[in-house]
């Protein structure tokens, strides 16, 4: 099959790789209908994460079941499925408590930017649609494999409540989905910290009531001004850098929680500030499967349309162009069609 591989910083290739086969009886092989590039794929792309030269890359996909192992009960070839990027049995103690991303049988999608991909623990991990979805709905369904569920996790972890003021730090696709999540969860005021006009537009469409283009000290002061000096009721940290994390803690009101979902890179948590101001931290790698049924219903009902975060669609052959476009911030998020 054709699969996207990474060979080093800024070296993305489309190469031939053996198509996956069923190695465990609990697995499924999915033919990818749509995959995409994640902001977190840019870490290895930019050389900030180590890579195994030639490894496949990509962890977000929707597709059609190609083959299932002997123990898979709930799925059969032909089913259209959303594959959470982190796989789970959905029966262990962690899964039963909702922490599906820490499943004792955890697995990951490893070739989402390819023609086929393996899903471990298929019965626990996958969620299928009611028949084949309309092509127009595919982008939104695709976001449920990671980015929308991750934005949702930020909002849930930050404790967004009806009537509250939520601030989203980061205007990547996850941050934009965080805006959508905060609005869905009833925040009265949703502030998007964004200085890029196309992203500001999507944030507004997703429910942002205020846009703050400033960053660092200036941005923090703007948030304090917007909240009568009190700070935000809930802060969604959707970047993962030390600067964005510190901004998040600065603008969170005492007693509130920063919900974080950006894989931390070089972050030193300000424990003294957290202690003195009683600002908590919650979140982490999103338990996508936990949120999937609810989010799927919201997409199918038309309540949310997170697929608009895809502002560039490319054939899989042009995956390297997709990485370049996201790296240079010419695209928010790139959908890939095998």
């Amino acid at each position: 099959m054709r699969a996207t591989t990474i060979h080093g910083p800024r070296d993305i290739r489309l190469e031939e790789r053996p198509a996956p086969t069923i190695a465990e009886p609990t697995e499924a092989v999915v033919k990818v209908v749509a995959g995409c590039i994640c902001g977190s794929d840019l870490w290895p792309y930019r050389g900030e994460n180590q890579v195994d030269e030639g490894a496949t890359i990509g962890h977000e996909l929707v597709g059609v079941i190609e083959e299932v192992g002997d123990e898979v009960r709930d799925f059969r070839p032909g089913d259209f499925v959303i594959a959470p990027f982190v796989h789970c049995d959905n029966t262990c103690a962690h899964c039963r408590a909702g922490a599906t991303s820490a499943c004792k049988n955890q697995g990951f999608t490893a070739s989402g930017q390819a023609e086929y991909s393996t899903v471990h623990q298929a019965d626990g991990s996958l969620v299928k649609t009611d028949g084949m979805p309309d092509a127009a709905m595919i982008p939104s369904l695709l976001t449920l494999s990671d980015v929308m569920a991750t934005g949702w996790h930020a909002a849930v972890s930050a404790g967004v409540r009806p009537g509250s003021t939520a601030v989203v730090v980061g205007d990547g696709a996850v941050g934009l989905c965080g805006v959508l999540a905060a609005a869905q969860l009833g925040a009265e005021r949703v502030v998007a910290m964004s200085r890029h006009e196309p992203r500001q537009r999507i944030a507004t469409r997703f429910g942002a009531t205020d846009i703050v283009p400033e960053r660092d000290d200036e941005g923090e002061q703007r948030i304090l001004d917007l909240t009568d000096g009190v700070g935000a009721d809930a802060v969604l940290e959707c970047v993962g850098t030390n600067a964005s994390m510190h901004t998040a803690f600065k603008i969170a009101r005492p007693g509130s929680t920063v919900g974080f979902v950006g894989a931390p890179h070089g972050v030193e948590l300000p424990v003294g500030h957290m202690f003195g101001k009683n600002v908590g931290l919650a979140g982490g790698m999103a338990p996508v499967r936990t949120y999937l049924p609810d989010l799927l219903e919201r997409v199918v009902s038309g309540a949310i349309d997170p697929g608009v975060v895809f502002d560039l669609t490319l054939p899989l052959e042009q995956v390297a162009d997709g990485y370049r476009a996201m790296d240079e911030r010419r695209a928010i998020k790139v959908l890939l069609e095998p």
Copy 2:
């Protein structure tokens, strides 16, 4: 008046100092009936916090109002009061949200180990008893000025729920009060990590169902064994060192929260682990005033008797002996009678 002062590491003295007078119309001066030594007083005592040579020390007290400022409405001389160590107006936005320890008019008790002490924002800060309490109840009332409310904050912040398994890291007076709080909040299993027999006894009296004397790797493994490899539903971190914090995160199940109340000293939070396992952190300097009415009712009704953490009572003259006893772990907590 006679007041405890600190002049440097292990240099505690009882000296003459001017008795406090009303400097602001919102203040009260309280004649101390009972004060005590806090675990956090040992940080400067051991030279781990900087001190102003000759400064008064001590922040926990109950007493009788001696004098009030012109704007104090709810208290008058003769009232018996509990003084939260952190003062608050109880009307600002932070206070209204329950974050009274981050009050915009925050103040602190500065001479709790003395004959008199000032309470700022008296109307907001103080809580009075219904008449003069019995002498036997004084120790328990005194714990409400800090240690019991702090243990309570750890349990609340960790999200202790009925039927859950809570683990308390730290067997100081705060940790023991954390055990009591977790039991009161309905935890079915309360594990006290303690290797000191007198503290184990109090933990058991306070509701601990299990005692784990091991520490570090061995202690963490014991907790995992006790929870079928899952980890604790809620962890109360009641020490504030890097080692205790890391133990807390190691034993917290994915999706749970570490409630922390020990002033952090040299703590580096394990952000990668927190992200990967979705273990949150909440808590900080306890909003004592927020919990006081509820805790007072529990003490008065006899539901809790946190005063048993005082295993040594000394006249104020022997305050230096009290510090030594706590420093050498010969006493859990020392009550001082002026």
